[in-house]
């Protein structure tokens, strides 16, 4: 009885995965087909694969894809690095400090996990505008750091708990400042947490749509995700190119995922087995 079920397992799993993956298959295959084939045989394999769609996106006269890619990379790297550092430090401070205000501060921070961006988008543009940061990468980064800080603090505060206080006390007795203590003792132990925070935030910031659309605006260019949205209107008759743009826009994050698969899953595991 047991073995019969076991034989069915991979069959069922593969079948389900195939059906599940089908939409992605259509787009990836469509990207490699010339325009007429996409309409006439949407399901078929690209018998004469063509790179013309990919080429059309990469070789656009206004260089939209490349400038958008640069923006996405800048915004993501800056946001993620800053977020990791700031949330790690803040989490450590809040957990270790015994001041009265830290507990409520932590609650206020964690409450931020559920704020939908639509609620604060308009006032955020006003605040950034007042600081002269609208239309700039810095403005988007600042907004990202503030918005995702609760997540970083949430993950790191869980890990700070796993660092034995004795180690910190020992280092402190040896005369280390809090700063040195943090960097040389605590943070290295929290590396797995840092890895999962960076991975999650990297994906979320890269795929973010509303914030760069509204804050970066048309003047400072777009990100690659907003670029896909623009392509929907622009390539409305040319699906192959639209698919190519979507694929290229997702490629960096897909490669990132493939390279760091183990840490990804480990990050989720760590979070759920607190």
């Amino acid at each position: 009885m047991r073995s019969r079920l076991e034989v069915l397992r991979p069959i069922a799993a593969i079948a389900l995965a195939a059906v599940f993956f089908f939409p992605i298959y259509i787009v990836v295959m469509g990207m490699l087909k010339p325009a007429d084939k996409i309409q006439s045989s949407p399901l078929g394999l690209p018998l004469q694969p063509t790179g013309e769609n990919l080429g059309a996106v990469l070789g656009r006269s206004d260089g939209l894809f490349w400038s958008a890619l640069l923006n996405s990379v800048q915004i993501t790297v800056l946001s993620v690095v800053l977020l990791t550092l700031l949330s790690a430090m803040l989490a450590h401070y809040l957990v270790r400090s015994h001041a009265l205000w830290t507990k409520p501060a932590m609650l206020v921070l964690l409450a931020g996990l559920m704020i939908p961006p639509a609620v604060i988008l308009q006032p955020v543009t006003q605040v950034l505008g007042a600081a002269g940061l609208m239309n700039s990468v810095v403005g988007v980064v600042a907004s990202n750091v503030a918005y995702y800080l609760p997540f970083g603090v949430f993950v790191f505060s869980g890990f700070v708990g796993t660092v034995p206080v004795e180690i910190e006390e020992a280092a402190s007795i040896d005369g280390a400042s809090r700063f040195r203590l943090f960097w040389q003792v605590v943070f290295p132990i929290m590396r797995p947490a840092a890895a999962s925070v960076m991975i999650f935030l990297g994906v979320w910031v890269w795929n973010d749509f509303l914030t760069p659309l509204i804050i970066l605006g048309p003047e400072a260019g777009t990100t690659v995700t907003v670029g896909v949205y623009r392509s929907v209107g622009e390539y409305s008759t040319n699906f192959g190119t639209l698919y190519a743009f979507s694929f290229l826009a997702s490629l960096p994050v897909l490669l990132f995922f493939v390279a760091l698969q183990k840490q990804f899953v480990a990050g989720l595991t760590a979070g759920s087995v607190k």
Binding site: V127, F209, A249, K274
Partner: protein, 290 residues
């Protein structure tokens, strides 16, 4: 003392400052705006008390938008959760094949909402892939997935489920693997069948995974925006697929009625905070501390 101040400013201040200025202040601002009649082009803004809230509650469109949000959120909280657990049980083996299959299911999770919408648009268009398959199979009146007002909302919910399923699968897998094997072995020795083992051991032990997934799905479903923007723009017909996040952006950022949209955003905030708190409370009580 000075050292304490320096530590605070180095460690805590930057994060707290940014959070305060770009999250807390905007929240307060939104709430305050909801009590005004601020319009983008009007010269002055006046305090109008609860008038915007009153108008919202009297507006059919608001209730429609709210209903849409609840429908999508309910579907998104339940379906990927249940199916995710089932899939996790199915895929709970450590060979290369299963790792690959898990990656397949996880891929949509790391795609942006815009890309997911582009993918599904080509599947659900009237002359798209799904209808092509149905027509080949002999279906004469293929459903209009995105333009039939009775179906469109469910199509969008389904797309979101597709995108979030992989996340639930991975979280459940982690939870399942954290259950000590000895418990199962002891239960088998005692003669417990599969269902009994699941109900008495597995289900209680993965409670924290259930919490994480449910809360994550709740927040994701509630804030759905990009999918609606690309696939239906709130239609077909008046607001049949508009969610509350979509309506807030339409009225407040892409439209002129800033005060009105702020009131709506305040209600939205209140609902999600309440829902999250309730759900978290209910679920965390179940979690077993090892």
């Amino acid at each position: 003392m000075l050292r304490r101040v320096r530590e605070f400013s180095g460690f805590a201040l930057p994060g707290l400052f940014l959070y305060g200025v770009l999250v807390l202040v905007p929240i307060v601002w939104t709430v305050v705006l909801g009590f005004t009649d601020r319009n983008r082009f009007a010269a002055e803004t006046n305090w109008v008390g609860l008038q915007q809230f009153q108008r919202l509650l009297e507006d059919d469109q608001f209730w429609l938008v709210l209903k849409n949000t609840f429908v999508v959120t309910a579907i998104v909280v339940v379906v990927p959760n249940v199916v995710g657990l089932a899939l996790a049980l199915l895929l709970n083996r450590e060979t290369r094949l299963y790792r690959l299959l898990r990656a397949v299911f996880f891929t949509p999770v790391i795609l942006s909402g815009i890309v997911v919408s582009v993918i599904w648009q080509s599947v659900l268009r009237p002359d798209g892939v799904l209808n092509a398959v149905l027509v080949d199979a002999g279906v004469t009146d293929a459903p209009r997935w995105l333009s039939d007002p009775g179906i469109a909302l469910f199509s969008i919910s389904g797309i979101l489920c597709w995108q979030l399923l992989g996340f639930c699968v991975v979280v459940y897998l982690a939870g399942l693997n954290a259950v000590p094997q000895e418990l199962y072995e002891a239960a088998i020795v005692d003669g417990a069948g599969w269902w009994r083992r699941f109900g008495s051991i597995t289900w209680p032990m993965i409670a924290s995974s259930v919490t994480i997934n449910t809360v994550m799905l709740l927040i994701s479903g509630f804030k759905v925006y990009e999918h609606i923007l690309v696939l239906t723009n709130g239609g077909p017909g008046r607001n049949t697929t508009a969610s509350i996040a979509f309506d807030v952006i339409e009225k407040g950022v892409r439209g002129d009625r800033i005060g009105f949209a702020a009131a709506e955003a305040t209600i939205m905030l209140g609902i999600i905070v309440l829902l999250s708190a309730v759900v978290l409370r209910l679920l965390q009580r179940r979690e077993v501390n090892l």
